[in-house]
């Protein structure tokens, strides 16, 4: 393949040649020597007082470890944090000289390490791979997710998984890619007779299985109730052996999209109740209801018909369940599982399910669009069989050319076309079917470096590469035809055209993938469900609440972008997104239904802004207790971009105590008095204190909850209700000396003093995520330039994204 001369490489060369003289190590050494010996060595000449020993510093900035340490030293010196307040000030000229020399040396070392290229070949992440296969092969979203999940996990290396230098590749990846490609092709190529779509109707009133189970005197029998027109569920059993489609005789024979329609009504209900519908797998007798595919509010006894579509494959089933049911005082619904108990006379709320109809596979075109798109040029007979119009190899070549160009996001060269096409020859020689022969080149294309890595020629991105980078930034997938067309016509690199495409991509629902993935990584939302809250302390938590929390933050972030709102709103907003479940959790009145929608918050609500969202509270807690340390560190690392260093060796975390005699603050106080700990904890703890008003599931609290212990009940150990414990103190003093009492005050301080830093961090994060490279020392100027452009409007989010895309960093390799 012909490559053009790389302009950036040339530029770098010129820069190096034009530099006045290479900085010798001794320059750096002599520039800092005076400063270090007079102002730093008192504390930093050993590792007893702090973990940083400046006398042992490595002056070779090519060593990444040394580089990081120097960059930190530079940062602290530049911000005036060191030497610490209260110690004699060093001579300003000495500091300025040291800073200037360090800056030069660090910038040079950073550029040297890059060798003229910020982003080396960037591999598709698992998520990007799955999305790309979806878009490339017109597959169902679910299949893409499953294919992605079959690949090796991305390594957790402290930044975004898009960052190329940290992306691994192994034999294990290659084997997984081959397998995933195989499975994707299985899904994409469907020929032969059109599958017959049929509707399977389950009438729960006449179910023979349920007729037995309603009255069965066995463990787990008698927890449902038969009516003339329906069967009633009262208990969310998580997994179920009762109402799912398999026990009513429905089997999926062909994978595909199915429509599920359910008729149901609220039974004995005084409040709105929720019908949930899951897709699951049968394992043994019970079905794991793993994936929620729909949830619907039912009010009153008027039947409601709800409908949803989902992808199903053989072995899978559909199971309805219930939620948000009120249980009468003093009743343990679990007792009904016992053999001698029956729920017949129970007066609590339930849901009566009349019918469930499963229809599919739904095919609007046969062979499906995915097959037609893939096998370009091939005709199909009336019964869906492949019909060749020229030699098999000529067809395969045509497919390679057309599919290859879409897969590689660039046209193939002659050599590539020949190599891929040739792969089918041995199979054709063996007289194996066309459909098998064509798969081999397709598999190779889908495992090729040109598919798996973003195209790179160094220097400025060409229009095609720009389309790829933009599309993977905002859609987390390959560019669409419109973007490719703009690139082919050489228009995409025109600023106005590029900006218009940013606008278009953000408007498209595919940009939800960006919001989800960015928030998932930048604000760690992916860790939201890592712990399940203690059910005796936080009985009100369930998966749907967790799901609503995640949606809240994603929708909120999306709204900030779509409405181009100032970053002020990220910190403090008068609105959020809620459904009934989350609104109840937040004590916000008058939100009905399971749909998330934008809600203006009451003026006295403690909510508003990212730091008041339950998702953040939950993911920074361990399920049982909260600690200001990880929470404070979340604010420092994820909002302000100034993470605290890890604790020195031999220091372990605090031992949490839920017995109610001491609060975490009291425990922390002792350790903040230690001079070794205080240096960092005066910064870490205050934002964590402000977050103390929110419990491990994001409920607002004025007192801690204390375990109520447990007792034996009818031979079973039963947890007793929690008690109210000591009061929460959410006040603190920032390292700058500003006092606050609670999150409201703390947010005001952030808005007043740290908004620029919040914007700086978010911009850096967006840039890093978008370009697949960490923000290096040499990139600081570029970030400041972007900030300067939008500072006047207090950093509106969409403008930030536009500026990121328009920047040289984004537009260069």
């Amino acid at each position: 393949m012909r490559r053009t001369i790389q302009p950036l490489a040339l530029l770098t060369l010129v820069t190096i040649v034009m530099a006045p003289r290479a900085l010798a190590l001794s320059d750096l050494e002599s520039a800092v020597e005076a400063l270090f010996s007079t102002s730093c060595h008192a504390c930093h000449s050993n590792t007893i007082i702090t973990s940083l020993d400046l006398t042992q510093l490595d002056y070779d900035l090519a060593n990444p470890q040394a580089f990081r340490t120097w960059a930190k030293v530079f940062g602290r010196l530049e911000r005036g944090e060191m030497p610490p307040a209260g110690t004699p000030r060093p001579d300003a000229k000495v500091v300025a000289h040291a800073l200037a020399t360090m800056e030069k040396a660090l910038t040079k070392a950073n550029l040297d390490a890059r060798r003229g290229q910020r982003t080396p070949l960037r591999r598709l992440t698992r998520l990007e791979y799955g999305n790309t296969l979806n878009d490339l092969l017109s597959l169902d979203e679910d299949i893409g997710h499953k294919l992605a999940a079959s690949l090796p996990a991305e390594a957790d290396s402290g930044g975004f998984d898009t960052v190329a230098v940290k992306q691994g590749i192994s034999a294990f990846h290659i084997r997984s890619y081959l397998q995933a490609a195989d499975r994707a092709l299985d899904e994409a190529i469907k020929t032969g007779p059109r599958p017959t779509s049929s509707a399977y109707r389950i009438d729960y009133a006449t179910s023979q299985y349920l007729a037995v189970m309603h009255d069965a005197p066995i463990l787990g029998g008698g927890i449902t109730k038969g009516l003339d027109d329906a069967a009633v569920m009262f208990i969310d059993t998580g997994s179920t052996y009762l109402m799912h489609s398999d026990s009513e005789g429905f089997r999926v024979t062909q994978p595909g999209i199915y429509r599920v329609t359910i008729e149901a009504y609220a039974y004995q209900a005084k409040t709105p109740v929720t019908l949930t519908v899951y897709r699951g797998n049968k394992q043994g007798v019970t079905a794991q209801l793993s994936e929620l595919i729909g949830s619907f509010d039912l009010v009153g006894d008027e039947p409601r018909t709800v409908s949803m579509t989902t992808y199903l494959k053989p072995g899978e089933l559909i199971g309805p369940s219930v939620a948000d049911l009120e249980i009468p005082e003093g009743v343990f619904t679990n007792q009904f599982f016992l053999p001698d108990q029956n729920i017949k006379d129970y007066a609590g709320e339930g849901i009566a399910i009349k019918t469930m109809t499963i229809e599919g596979p739904l095919t609007d075109q046969w062979p499906p669009a995915s097959t037609r798109a893939l096998l370009a040029g091939v005709q199909f007979s009336a019964d869906g069989e492949i019909e060749l119009t020229k030699s098999a190899i000529a067809h395969i070549e045509e497919i390679v050319i057309q599919f290859g160009e879409r897969a590689f996001r660039r046209p193939l060269n002659a050599e590539e076309i020949e190599e891929f096409t040739r792969l089918a020859l041995p199979l054709l020689a063996d007289e194996r079917p066309f459909a098998e022969a064509v798969r081999v080149p397709l598999r190779a294309i889908l495992s090729s470096p040109s598919f798996l890595y973003h195209d790179s020629t160094g220097g400025l991105l060409n229009d095609r590469q720009l389309a790829t980078r933009l599309s993977y930034f905002l859609w987390r997938s390959m560019p669409d035809a419109e973007l490719i067309e703009a690139a082919e016509q050489g228009q995409l690199s025109q600023p106005a055209v590029l900006a218009a495409h940013v606008e278009r991509l953000l408007e498209d629902s595919k940009s939800d993938r960006f919001v989800k993935d960015f928030a998932g990584q930048a604000y760690r939302l992916y860790e939201l469900k890592a712990t399940s809250p203690d059910s005796s302390l936080y009985p009100e938590y369930d998966d749907r609440l967790g799901h609503a929390m995640q949606s809240e933050t994603e929708l909120f972030f999306r709204e900030l972008i779509r409405q181009n709102m100032s970053i002020d709103q990220l910190i403090d907003a008068d609105f959020t997104f809620l459904n009934r479940r989350l609104a109840e959790h937040y004590d916000v009145p008058a939100v009905k239904g399971q749909q998330m929608r934008k809600v203006v918050l009451p003026t006295d609500s403690p909510r508003g802004g990212l730091l008041t969202q339950a998702s953040i509270h939950k993911l920074t807690a361990n399920g049982t207790t909260t600690s200001p340390v990880p929470r404070g560190n979340f604010v420092l690392a994820s909002v302000l971009g100034k993470p605290a260093p890890p604790p020195p060796p031999n220091v372990s975390g605090l031992e949490p105590d839920t017995r109610g005699t001491t609060t975490i603050r009291e425990q922390l106080a002792a350790h903040r008095e230690s001079p070794i700990c205080a240096g960092c904890h005066r910064k870490i703890d205050p934002p964590g204190f402000a977050l103390e008003s929110f419990d491990p599931i994001g409920g607002y609290r004025e007192r801690y909850r204390v375990s109520g212990g447990e007792m034996m009940y009818d031979g079973y150990m039963v947890a007793l209700p929690y008690r109210e414990g000591l009061p929460v103190d959410a006040s603190g003093v920032t390292p700058e000396g500003w006092a606050f009492d609670g999150m409201r005050d703390y947010k005001d301080l952030l808005l007043e003093h740290d908004l620029d830093q919040v914007a700086r961090h978010l911009t850096s994060q967006l840039m890093s995520f978008a370009t697949g490279a960490d923000i290096g020392f040499a990139d600081r100027g570029a970030i400041e330039q972007i900030l300067a452009e939008v500072e006047g409007d207090r950093y509106p989010l969409k403008s930030l994204i536009q500026e990121v895309v328009a920047s040289d960093l984004f537009r260069s390799q």
Partner: protein, 420 residues
Amino acid sequence: MNKRYSPNRRTFLRASGVAVALPLLESIGPRALAAAPVRRMVNICCTLGLYKDSWMPTTTGADYAATEYLEIINAHRDRYTLFSGLSHEEQTGRQAHNSEITWLTSTRHPGLDGFQNTISIDQAAANHLGYTTRFPSFVLGTATPQSQSYTDNGVMVPAETSPAALFKKLFIKGTPEEIARETQRLADGGSVLDNLKSQAARQSRSASAPDAEKLEAYFEAVRRAERELAEVAKWTDKPKPQVNEVPPIDVPDKADLIGRVRLLFKLIPLILQTDSSRVVNVMIQDHGVVPQVPGVTSDLHSLSHHGQDAAKITQLRTVEKELVRLFGDLMTELTATSDAQGPLIDQTAVLFGSNLGNASSHAAKDLPILVAGGGFAHGKHIAHEGGHDDPLCNLFVTLLRSMGMEVDAFGQSTGALRWS
């Protein structure tokens, strides 16, 4: 001479821009193992810790007084050694539980900026053995594909969680058609891999230096995959071992933690006895649900954060006692099961413990560590005292050597741990 275990021994030669890899100098392929005794390794991690007061003896030496948990396995007392005061340094990570991803690697600061995991001891051993057995290693998990096994470039090997699928893989013979299809698939795959290599080599010729490095890594990955598939193909025609066992039925409910661990543990003696693999890892994970153990009302993770609440500690001990009991059953099986060389336990070094010393505070210090079998001297509690921990990696060096590997160093090691 201090020979460090170096996974990337095969260095790339870049001659005239073409990526060429040196031939593999070690492992893979039939080795003259008939004479050498077979060595095996099993690593089991309870990722939510083991409650210290119930696990760690307060006395040392051969006369140590067994604690509540150790009482349960005391019958095997002469077949294992307990260690205290061992850990990896700098395990504070981005997330509180990150030390679980470095338990078998010892890489510092898991998940923090600049972190890249390194090879785990099981994969080091598996690389050494290669396809001597049908499977170089088995990586098992009780709930999710997350594992503690990492390749030399820090890629996580996903855990298998279905005992039924494992059993099928190990012992169920495919139909002739299935075998033919598999062979065909591997052959088709072979030509694809060839093509991928040639693409990578061609592109790296005109690529910038940073891009070329990426392409070389890709090339090397394909080359390895190719070699592995060739090894897999050799095993495809060989008959699978037959065992006199009923295939297991998966425990569908995540709440049945004990049932799931039991099924996985039951497979271990079968894997070893049939010499299907000599390296097995088991990660006992956080299931996120209340385990079905009588008297337990909270999930294990919540219980591990007991906050000194006596009721919770009682429940925590209830679950952990069940886990230790299962480990005891595994010990019994490994002792009772023999191959031509004798009891499995004598050939198998079993590491049992946790990445957390105190799960309630997430401390990764003073870890609970037990080593059984493997031909080591046993029966004592070896304490490493003096206020600071010794490297757990010193024990890893000893374990790797017991696998017949000539290593002097691994991860954070400062030597090999010796005891008598």
